[in-house]
């Protein structure tokens, strides 16, 4: 079990400080996804862990060893890249064995490891081909195989599925998850900007923005209890609905109040003490908005209906905002111009308007 520990890491390109004072501790055997928009520093962090970037500050520990100054090959890592990065002039076999030949592994051992990886990834029939003769999915399998044969404890993935089409991406995603289960004692760190990949693959997700880890938690908590406004807005599609207002306490009951709404907050689990009058943002996911013809609190004028097969997204104009609702796939809304909706208290998310932190 190889633990990866980052202490006060700083990385800068010239005058541009991309990461500073970054700490993260990844347990052995864990599948951690670094999720964030482009330019958030997630790939930089991964490259720093791999040793492909010089760090300006801090330490990197892998498997109990301080590898901050070590070469990539000595860190006990394997890496898979977005563009596959297969050596174009070598066969699949050559690609898989290159690293082992560099490390002067005996021939019999090379053959054994290549066969094991090829079988695991179903590429055993492609061994004599060049990368240009492979499809995208096969290429990425070979790239994963090249990391596997290194027989290491930590695998790094830099957006490995981003170059594939949607169907292949889903297929390989499932395979990656299976792979992690089979190699149960290997740690995987996976960079992506695709939240579905993050939510499905990860044991824990680190959401990054502006070089800072916004939240490092289980996918379930990332989605249902986002720690701040950025995480709440970034994860989920369609985006979470937000309203501006303040928290007020009236006769012992707390409520979220704005010009358009007075939303009781019974059922909401506050993270701490909140003073009355605190400016706040209320967030609710599209699937949590409830259609309630009898007891609904707000009127919603239907503007647009997007049937997506498994679900239907309805965009309405309500409480002075555009609010999205996620409904069943076969819901019948024909002719309904106005809905009554309500926001269930236990499904709400409240954030401090100034700091963005969850209340």
């Amino acid at each position: 079990m190889a633990q990866v520990k980052i202490n006060k890491l700083g990385v800068s390109f010239g005058a541009l400080q991309v990461l500073s004072d970054l700490d993260i501790e990844i347990e052995g055997g864990e599948f951690v996804v670094l999720l964030g928009p482009s330019g958030c520093g997630k790939s930089t962090l991964l490259n720093a862990i791999a040793g492909l970037l010089d760090v300006s500050d801090g330490q990197i520990w892998i498997d109990g060893r301080n590898v901050t100054w070590e070469e990539p090959k000595d860190r006990g890592i394997g890496m898979v890249f977005q563009s596959y990065a297969l050596y174009p002039r070598m066969t699949v076999e050559g690609n898989l064995s290159f690293g082992l030949k560099m490390a002067r592994v005996p021939k019999a051992e090379i053959a054994r490891r290549i066969n094991a990886a090829a079988e695991l990834l179903h590429i055993d029939k492609l061994m004599k081909r060049r990368p240009s003769e492979l499809s995208g999915g096969q290429r990425q399998r070979v790239a994963i195989g090249r990391a596997l044969v290194r027989d290491v404890r930590v695998y790094l993935f830099d957006e490995p599925l981003s170059n594939l089409d949607a169907a292949l991406r889903t297929e390989l995603r499932v395979e990656l998850k299976r792979l992690h289960q089979e190699l149960s004692n290997s740690t995987m760190i996976y960079v992506t900007h695709d939240q579905v990949e993050a939510l499905t693959l990860a044991d824990r997700i680190a959401v990054m923005h502006g070089g800072i880890i916004q939240q490092f938690d289980k996918p379930r908590n990332i989605y249902h209890r986002p720690g701040n406004l950025f995480v709440a807005g970034f994860v989920g599609s369609p985006k979470m609905n937000f309203l501006d207002g303040r928290i007020e306490e009236r006769s012992g009951e707390r409520a979220f109040v704005s010009d358009e709404v007075t939303q009781p907050l019974n059922g909401y689990a506050f993270a701490g003490n909140v003073r009355s009058g605190t400016p706040a943002k209320l967030g609710i996911r599209p699937e949590h908005v409830r259609i309630d013809p009898d007891q609904g609190m707000y009127d919603a004028d239907v503007e647009l209906v997007e049937p997506m097969g498994a679900e239907t997204v309805v965009w309405c104009n309500a409480v002075g905002h555009t609010i999205s609702l996620r409904l069943e796939g076969d819901v019948a809304l024909e002719g309904q111009k106005r809905l009554r909706i309500s926001f269930p208290g236990e499904r709400l998310n409240l954030f401090d308007a100034a700091s963005g932190v969850r209340l």
Partner: protein
């Protein structure tokens, strides 16, 4: 009337559109053929002149096909034409040119490939400054540096020697070749280089096993540029090669300049064609690559 035709076409149109010869197209072809003839004419004159005897040349009909074919001028140009006092033809020059070109091409390409590789993948401190300096070298006129270079070569004892001229060609090929390789390597995905580093390959292993196998196309371009450039060089050969290593171009000039009695136009033409044969062969064999080389070297022209 036109409406009827249009309607016929409307219903008849199916499958590939019929090819029509338009006036514009004919014009383009006429222009291209004319231009090709214009540029081919001097070559034609050279070839026919080289196949005539002097008596026929004196008649002055330079476009006429030879009345009596003779290969004597070619043989003379190759092995017996006089340059000054020696009468060995252009043959020694041919072998001198080979002795100069082959090592210069190999040496300059190896060094330039390593330069380009280091500049694009191992971004050391000051790499951009170094590259800028090298490119600046491409714009310095040769004439400016010849005299200092002569002094330098004399001081290190390489003036007028074969290694001397090889070094000069290697130095002057460096800016453009480094630019060529650096730009080519910069277009390769950096992740490939990262993958090789994770796989444990060092500077030389990545160069020889990963990068150079991918650099075959650009290396062909580099070979073409250098072979034609060095073979056609006159100035450096004249100045730095020394009497024993005079390249073919210098030898050709001497043959043309040496006159005893009448000017042997047919021998001069043959010698010129022989000298130009190597670059010409390179053009014809590798036309596709040569165009690429020109495009890649467009900065210098």
């Amino acid at each position: 009337m036109t409406a009827v035709v249009a309607q016929d076409e409307f219903f008849a149109a199916a499958g590939p559109r019929p090819r029509r010869v338009s006036a514009a197209r004919i014009g383009v072809y006429c222009f291209l053929i004319g231009a090709a003839l214009f540029f081919a004419l001097p070559l034609y004159v050279m070839v026919v002149t080289s196949l005539k005897d002097l008596g026929e040349i004196r008649l002055g009909n330079i476009f006429n096909w030879p009345a009596e074919l003779t290969f004597e001028p070619w043989i003379a140009a190759w092995s017996s034409a006089c340059t000054g006092r020696t009468c060995e033809g252009i043959r020694p020059g041919f072998f001198n040119s080979i002795k100069i070109t082959v090592p210069s091409v190999i040496l300059s390409i190896i060094i330039a490939a390593i330069n380009g590789y280091a500049l694009s993948f191992w971004r050391f401190r000051g790499a951009n400054f170094f590259f800028g300096l090298l490119i600046f070298g491409a714009f310095v006129p040769y004439q400016v540096v010849i005299y200092p270079l002569i002094i330098f070569m004399r001081e290190v004892g390489l003036f007028a020697t074969l290694p001397g001229i090889i070094i000069v060609h290697t130095i002057f090929g460096m800016p453009i070749l480094t630019l060529l390789y650096r730009n080519y390597f910069s277009s390769l995905p950096e992740e490939l280089f990262k993958a090789a580093r994770v796989d444990g390959a060092g500077f030389w292993a990545i160069f020889f096993r990963v990068v150079m196998p991918m650099a075959v196309p650009i290396s062909i371009v580099a070979v073409i540029l250098q072979v034609t450039g060095i073979w056609n060089d006159f100035l450096f050969g004249l100045v730095f090669a020394g009497r024993d290593n005079m390249p073919m171009t210098v030898q050709l000039n001497n043959i043309v300049a040496t006159t005893t009695g009448t000017r042997a136009y047919n021998v001069n033409m043959s010698a010129t064609i022989l000298t130009a044969a190597v670059p010409l062969a390179v053009y014809f064999i590798s036309g596709r690559w040569f165009v690429r080389g020109i495009a890649a070297g467009a900065v210098k022209g």
